[in-house]
């Protein structure tokens, strides 16, 4: 397999402009005869499908949910970055580019990231034009806040529901095209395979989740916007239905899967409460603008808190350890996610955890409430305000900023976070790895593209907060609609693609046999049992910290799970009609194969970088130690027919504009 990034020549800040000026175009009358399949309707999928239809292509959009509006982008809370410099704090395209490369621990492509930073400002303009109600200040202009890994305020937001508002914007654009007949929507359809004809992606096999029918759909190109694979861990902040099947099936058809071990463990999630738990809930990173993270300074206090003999609010300042502020004075509570997560794990492993399981730290808003309260009292002309009055005023300000998050916390934990600090712990949130794509977002299968979280390209080994929404919309609105034309320009005389060819018929048959096989076992184990087993192994050995021995053990365990799954899984019902257990089984089967690849990838990468922390490679202070001489590359894995023996291909990362150095947030 040859990996050609197709990075345009020329200076970094002119590559995208030059590309756009020279890329081939498809004229309007030809666009009408070209069909594009878009799988997934999150930020990347909805924006891509809407934009392509607006340009004149015929689009078929697929989602497994009952409506495109339900895609999990909807749950993103905190915000979206853009280099607008509205705050006059020195932000620029270059700084956004630089922060993103550095945040990704120097494992992403310069040209892609610079393009992302370049188009970021247009995203905000586009969304405002669509009627997305971003937060505004009293002058009527847009407000910004700060996120981790940066020293400017460049994050646009809509309370704690930014993802919802952006997705509804893209969904409305998509709905407009569906209403016009330019997009045909296939909801409650799940992609089961990619169809490749003469080396080109020509369609997909999908299962109609209502009737159970296995259907063939053809197109001149296939765009996968199917999100990340965090649910391989079973417990994650992903939606229950989020899965890797579309990407994994494309991988099995020839698309290289890159940097599978780069997964993001988000520092501020609600801790696990018991074995019954089906998913984890994020508390937005934006809370670290105002929340201070701490654990007790002395172990005996932590023990007393765990035994419920001591309340956190009773612990005086001098007996608290604000460990992020202590370790990273320059960035404090706003260090990047990987750094904050590891620091929490370090304190909890050392015995300072604050909940019954010892796996939680505090996120405390008391000082923010008092600080805002004092300002509010001054503004309102309340002189000599009492402490209670100040607290009340401050609580209102905090409620205005994060109200829905606090309410969500209270629902789940049954504690009032305005009065007692939140308890949080890291949880799986995002996957930086994904399908390898070139500068044009094309995978190693000609005509098959990947956008948004499904691809690997922009976040390196760690994604900065508020950058996922930016990337999803950048890819869908402003990148893919240009780059796909360069390929489709050759398709103007292809004509309609038949689904009666051998390739479609065989792919359909293979899907049917794969699904039927799942009913043929004599076993009694539920699908969830396997998913939980897999998730625990990956979390224990390929989670926040990894080592050689653990990864080797995990690989052998995952192989056993795979073998056992096909012998003993129990899938009730049949192929026809709604069968939610069958849906889960097909997804878990692919997660098992992906899980093994993650461990193989982590084992091969003998260094620590970003979210990939190999215990053997750390600095004296316990920070990630990169080995640039040997590992400054993208590991793009090729499927060989045996899930245990993928072949690794390397794309060297070349930094022409940025000086690669040890990340420091001190």
């Amino acid at each position: 397999m040859k990996l050609d990034g197709k990075i345009p020549e020329g200076p970094l800040d002119q590559k995208w402009t030059k590309y756009k000026n020279s890329v081939r175009l498809v004229n309007p009358s030809n666009k009408r005869n070209i069909e594009v399949i878009v799988v997934g309707t999150g930020l990347a999928g909805s924006s891509a499908a809407a934009s392509l239809a607006e340009m004149g292509y015929k689009v078929k959009a697929f989602c497994f949910q009952d409506s495109p509006r339900r895609a999990h982008s909807i749950a993103a809370q905190g915000g979206i970055n853009a280099a607008k410099n509205y705050m006059n704090d020195g932000d620029s395209t270059y700084r956004l580019f630089y922060d993103t490369i550095k945040g990704g621990d120097y494992r992403s492509r310069e040209a892609n990231v610079h393009r992302l930073a370049e188009v970021s400002a247009s995203i905000i303009d586009q969304c405002v034009a669509q009627g997305v109600p971003f937060a505004r200040d009293y002058g009527g202009l847009l407000d910004n806040r700060s996120f981790g890994g940066t020293q400017v305020s460049r994050t646009f937001y809509a309370k704690g529901q930014t993802g919802q508002q952006l997705l509804l914007g893209a969904y409305s654009a998509l709905s407009r095209q569906i209403g016009k007949g330019s997009v045909k929507l296939y909801n409650r359809h799940e992609m089961m395979d990619l169809v490749v004809v003469d080396g080109k992606a020509r369609g997909i096999i999908a299962r109609n989740m209502i009737t159970g029918e296995i259907e063939s759909h053809s197109g001149h190109a296939v765009v996968l916007c199917t999100g990340g694979y965090g649910n391989v861990f079973f417990l994650s902040t992903n939606a229950m239905g989020s899965n890797v099947t579309a990407a994994w099936r494309a991988h099995r058809r020839g698309a290289a899967f890159a940097n599978a071990c780069f997964t993001q463990i988000h520092p501020t999630c609600i801790p696990v409460s018991g074995d019954h738990q089906s998913k984890l809930t994020l508390m937005s990173e934006s809370l670290r603008n105002d929340g201070r993270i701490w654990v007790p300074l002395h172990k005996e206090d932590a023990e007393a808190i765990r035994a419920k003999k001591l309340k956190p609010t009773d612990l005086p300042e001098e007996r608290r350890d604000y460990y992020l502020e202590r370790r990273y004075p320059a960035f404090g509570n706003l260090v990047p996610r990987d750094v904050a997560s590891r620091a929490a794990k370090e304190r909890c492993d050392a015995g300072f955890g604050v909940n019954a399981t010892g796996e939680a730290v505090y996120l405390d808003f008391a000082s923010a409430i008092m600080r805002y309260g004092k300002t509010a009292a001054t503004v309102q002309g309340v002189h000599n305000a009492t402490e209670d009055q100040i607290r009340e005023l401050g609580t209102k300000v905090v409620e205005g900023k994060y109200g829905n998050l606090f309410q969500m916390y209270e629902q789940i934990v049954a504690e009032n976070p305005y009065k007692t600090p939140m308890m949080i712990y890291p949880a799986v949130h995002y996957t930086m790895g994904g399908l390898w794509v070139n500068y044009e977002l094309m995978t190693t299968v000609t005509g098959c593209y990947a956008c948004g979280e499904a691809n690997f390209s922009d976040h390196g080994a760690n994604r900065l907060g508020a950058s996922a929404l930016m990337q999803g919309l950048a890819d869908g609105y402003f990148v893919l609609p240009y780059t796909i034309g360069n390929y489709l320009a050759d398709e103007i005389s292809t004509g309609a693609i038949s689904t009666k060819t051998t390739e479609f018929v065989e792919a359909e048959k293979a899907v049917r046999e794969r699904l039927e096989g799942l009913f043929k076992t004599t076993g009694t184990e539920t699908v969830d049992t396997y998913h939980k087993k897999l998730g625990k192994i990956i979390w224990d050995y390929c989670g926040m910290a990894r080592n050689k021995q653990g990864l080797e053990f995990a690989i052998s365990e995952i192989r056993k799970i795979r073998e056992d799954f096909y012998k003993n899984v129990k899938v009730p019902g049949g192929m026809n009609g709604v069968n939610t257990e069958l849906e889960k089984a097909t997804r878990v089967a692919d997660f098992i194969e992906l899980g093994e690849l993650m461990c193989l990838d982590a084992l091969e990468r003998n260094e620590s970088c970003g979210g990939h922390f190999r215990e053997e490679f750390q600095t004296e202070e316990g920070e990630a130690l990169r080995v640039d001489e040997a590992f400054s590359y993208v590991a793009a894995w090729e499927f060989t027919g045996d899930p245990s023996a993928p072949k690794m291909n390397k794309e060297d990362l070349i930094y022409e504009n940025i000086k690669v150095q040890q990340r420091s947030y001190k």
Partner: protein, 255 residues
């Protein structure tokens, strides 16, 4: 921790497909923890059902954090259950007692036919949005700067509040008329409150209301149950605003 000790009697609507007759089935479930979410309790019940070799209860759910709008259960006669301002997935078992009997049904409305068990078809909502719930702006890097038109904070905040609708359909399920006016008015209001929505203001409200009627949803008779049961507490002021928008779009002569 989660060593549950609640025993429940569950009466669940089972219907094998959209054309089959349905009925309430009884299930006993023990070992339920008060820390479980309602859907985790259903997961537990499904594990029990699957181990017996029977067909799992089909229900819609996805994000399980109250934002995707997919979960949709009518619990003890209330959309999303007994608590206010939460979806079914955010409802926790601590809101119930040991020994309780819980009735679980799908949304029931002409516009939302049952697909299977607790799963309904809400595509009517999508079609209403497709009829006008958007601003007609194509993707372009050349719209205008996002700060070119200042928007009074109060308008922006109200537009946001309306826009937080998750499209779950609890308003329809809870309304004796199966009216979708809270849902439709939330989208109409969002765009009526923002300058970006103004050019298409008239056609939008007329088209969306027309589609709403065609889908078989009833009219609003000011009962107000929708606002109470709405997991996002969308205000019925939006319905009043939509009525004004509709009236003005209907009677004003063309400019």
């Amino acid at each position: 921790m989660s060593n549950g000790n609640m025993n429940l009697t569950l009466k669940v609507w089972r219907q094998s497909n959209s054309t089959a007759a349905g009925k309430m089935e009884n299930y006993q479930l023990g070992g339920v923890s008060p820390d479980m979410s309602f859907l985790e309790m259903i997961d537990m019940l499904n594990e029990q059902i699957i181990r017996k070799g029977e067909d799992a209860i089909a229900f819609d759910h996805d994000c399980r954090e109250g934002i995707c709008g997919m979960c949709s259960m009518f619990i003890n006669g209330e959309a999303h259950g007994p608590n206010r301002g939460v979806t079914t997935c955010q409802l926790h078992m601590r809101s119930f007692k040991d020994g309780d009997t819980i009735y679980i049904e799908p949304w029931r409305a002409e516009g939302f036919p049952v697909v299977k068990d607790l799963m309904v078809d809400r595509a009517a909502f999508d079609r209403i949005i497709q009829s006008g719930g958007f601003v007609s702006v194509n993707t372009s890097g050349r719209t205008m700067d996002a700060n070119a038109i200042p928007i009074p904070k109060d308008d922006a905040d109200k537009a946001f509040d309306a826009a937080t609708c998750i499209g779950c359909g609890a308003c329809v399920a809870t309304c004796p008329n199966s009216s979708a006016m809270l849902f439709v008015s939330a989208k109409v209001s969002q765009f009526a409150l923002l300058p970006q929505g103004h050019p298409e203001r008239k056609e939008r409200v007329l088209n969306m209301v027309k589609q709403m009627d065609e889908e078989g949803f009833g009219n609003c008779s000011n009962i107000g149950a929708c606002e109470v049961q709405c997991p996002k507490s969308i205000s019925i002021e939006n319905i009043a605003r939509m009525n004004r928008e509709y009236l003005s779009a209907s009677v004003k002569p063309e400019n």
